[in-house]
């Protein structure tokens, strides 16, 4: 019977706590969470029974046991969150396991330079997620009333004989849809560019369907931003300002954070 090491994250050894094990409970609900220094980098891990948490067992559980998956995923993220509040943390993916201390050390050694660069990048900075939603009905009305191309088309139609107006109105509807899409993209991209000015880095994530969000309005943008700690207040004030200014035209904003640097700490390049 052997054991595996479950890796939660990596921190600079200079920040490593003196207390070992840490006052946190491990992945199996009873074990300890402790640190393993590998030169300048310290791994935060817990030990797991190799039979109870073999690759096959984990694969089976993640595919077939929703309760288990939810419980363990929450455990992982809550632990990572607690660690990120205290240390400059490279958070690891859910269920990152090593067969031995040696294989963990080897992996850290082989990515050492990238990991140290990431520590420099994320130290003192916060990851924020911003989702933009748009009420298409409200925006459509606005686009329909203010877009010069649509106005021109409408004027053109009013001059036509009644019979032709029907078909031209169909074309106009299509034009409105097209302009609506363009407007949504233009606005989202403009805001993304502006938010990036407050950030060290910004990246775009896929938007979620209505089926997943369960909202009436559409998610038009999903961005993550690495914001300097000193600039977070300004960043959030800017989002509040957008919400205030754009509410009438159907836009909504949702900012969550600070998250562990999930999207800015990939070290396996």
């Amino acid at each position: 019977m052997g054991s595996y090491l479950y890796l939660y994250g990596l921190i600079p050894t200079g920040e490593a706590p003196e207390q070992n094990p840490l006052p946190l409970t491990g992945f199996d609900g009873s074990g300890e969470i402790f640190t393993i220094p590998v030169g300048n980098i310290t791994a935060i891990v817990c030990e797991l029974d190799a039979d109870a948490y073999s690759e096959d067992v984990i694969k089976d559980k993640t595919n077939n046991d929703m309760e288990w998956l939810q419980e363990k995923a929450f455990h992982h993220h809550e632990t990572v969150l607690k660690l990120a509040k205290q240390y400059t943390l490279i958070p690891l993916k859910f269920c990152t396991l090593y067969r031995s201390r040696e294989s963990l050390e080897e992996s850290v050694q082989s990515h050492k330079e990238n990991m140290l660069d990431i520590f420099k990048l994320i130290a003192g900075n916060e990851e924020w997620n911003v989702k933009m939603y748009c009420d298409e009905k409200a925006l459509k009305e606005q686009v329909s009333e203010t877009n010069p191309a649509i106005e021109a088309k409408r004027a053109e139609i009013s001059e036509l004989p009644k019979g032709r107006q029907f078909f031209e109105k169909k074309k106009l509807d299509k034009l409105i849809e097209k302009e609506l899409e363009e407007e949504k993209n233009k606005v989202s991209e403009r805001i993304h560019a502006q938010l990036k000015e407050f950030s060290l880095m910004g990246s775009v994530k896929r938007t979620w369907s209505k089926d997943v969000t369960g909202r009436q309005d559409n998610m038009t943008w999903n961005g993550v931003y690495l914001v300097p700690g000193s600039g977070v207040e300004e960043f959030l004030l800017q989002i509040q300002q957008y919400e205030k200014e754009m509410k009438e035209t159907g836009w909504r904003f949702e900012a969550t954070g600070p998250w562990p640097a999930y999207h800015f700490s990939s070290f396996s390049k």
Binding site: L69, Q70, Q216
Partner: protein
């Protein structure tokens, strides 16, 4: 489908806090705890760690809990104001 929490008027900016309450009843019916769980769940989905089905099921459970908690809060408030 039940309406989702995100359609309800919630804060524009949601700050992630550590989970501070461990007691079972608070865990179940504490509004900020439920909200924290919901946004953590969103991140798990974002990171591709849980599939659609697990996301939706857990979200629905949390929203039902949120609504129950909200109702409990309202009832407590009504009782308090009645006493006065």
């Amino acid at each position: 489908m039940i309406h989702k929490l995100v359609s309800a008027p919630i804060n524009l900016v949601i700050k992630i806090a550590e989970k501070v309450k461990e007691e079972a009843d608070k865990e179940l019916y504490d509004l900020p705890t439920i909200q924290q769980k919901l946004i953590q769940l969103q991140m798990m989905y974002e990171l591709g760690e849980i599939p659609d089905e697990a996301y939706k099921a857990k979200e629905e459970e949390l929203i039902l809990r949120y609504e129950t908690a909200k109702r409990m809060e309202l009832e407590q408030w009504e009782q308090m104001t009645k006493k006065k």
